[in-house]
Symmetry: C2
Subunit: 206 residues, 2 copies
């Protein structure tokens, strides 16, 4: 049953150890030891640690893209919520790239550039979403243009850093919690009846 290739074993073990113990603390020796192969063998599959990081990152991007394709074209509130939750689960699995951004970015500038691009794209998507809501008149009319720009930025900001804040409030640290957290940013910008609708929706996730 355990048909994992050595390469897969390396990747899975790396992900786990990087996530839990820190990229700067885990060496190719540690990883090799934990899956009972030699360090030499590991270096046959990945020439160095950074290449493992790059491979993991590519997998993350791939999974995020896949998740997007499953999203419906219709933008019901429920769809949005579950799409977000799905995204958060993926991000949580690859949390090293968010929690240990500084270390990884310094090691592999290529990953830094790709992530910055990713977030720029996401910001535009969110601005488009806000505009749809404005057109549908679900959005408050008394919000300044500067504040709307801020709102989009606030979303991106929170997506980027949600995993950094588990620590002072560990009991509430779960993808579910943060999906709710993120949507609550949105609430006070909506017209009253719309806000109430969302409030019940968020309470329903539990």
């Amino acid at each position: 049953m355990n048909q994992k290739s050595t390469k897969e074993k390396i990747i899975d073990q790396s992900l786990e150890m990087f996530n839990d113990l820190g990229v700067e603390n885990i060496t190719t020796r540690h990883i090799a030891k934990e899956i009972n192969i030699s360090q030499g063998n590991l270096h046959y599959h990945f020439p160095n640690k950074d290449k493992i990081l790059e491979f993991l990152f590519e997998t993350l991007i791939l999974k995020l893209k896949e998740a997007e394709e499953f999203d419906g074209i219709e933008l019901t509130e429920d769809d949005m919520l579950h799409s977000m939750l799905n995204n958060f689960n993926i991000m949580y699995a690859y949390r090293l790239f968010f929690q240990q951004k500084e270390v990884i970015w310094r090691r592999v500038p290529k990953i830094k550039e790709a992530m910055i691009l990713l977030f720029k794209t996401k910001k535009l998507e969110i601005l488009a979403l806000i505009n749809i809501y404005k057109k549908e008149e679900k959005f408050r009319g008394d919000i300044s243009a500067e504040q709307i720009e801020f709102l989009a930025e606030q979303f991106i900001f929170s997506i980027q850093s949600w995993l950094n804040v588990k620590n002072y409030n560990p009991e509430n640290h779960s993808p579910q919690y943060y999906a709710k957290f993120l949507f609550r940013i949105w609430l006070p910008y909506l017209k009253n009846e719309e806000m109430k609708k969302w409030e019940t929706l968020l309470n329903d996730i539990g």
Copy 2:
């Protein structure tokens, strides 16, 4: 004129290099070399790298406390804004503790505990502030209790991670920008006339 003691030199150089190049990349050898002392001498003043980190952290806490004492008891909007700006300048000077939290917390659990405590205290302060605004009827009446709890959390969340997000938007990375950023969280929760007042106030910082 250069009356800096060796200990001060070590501290200043460490702060600069940790901030810019990463705690995990800077060794006692690097620091010593940069200020033209031997590594042995550095280890006379600080037994190891972690003790330098602890010293830097204690200085940060001290400066934050000092800044608090200068704050007026009156809570004018202008006072709040400038106090926040002051705090952000200090945090920026010691940004390693926010940008490189994961690495530092793993190395020095004592710092982790102290920071968690700090943020818990800050959250209570912010909740108290929200309540004052509610009593003064400047706050919207149609906001749920859950959403108010969220608002406090959102503030703490943003304070903790503001320094992590310079990268996708580097042109806007300054303490001033983030002071404004933080206050904009607050805006859509205020009654309309109050919101407008804040909007002009924020635009005045430029």
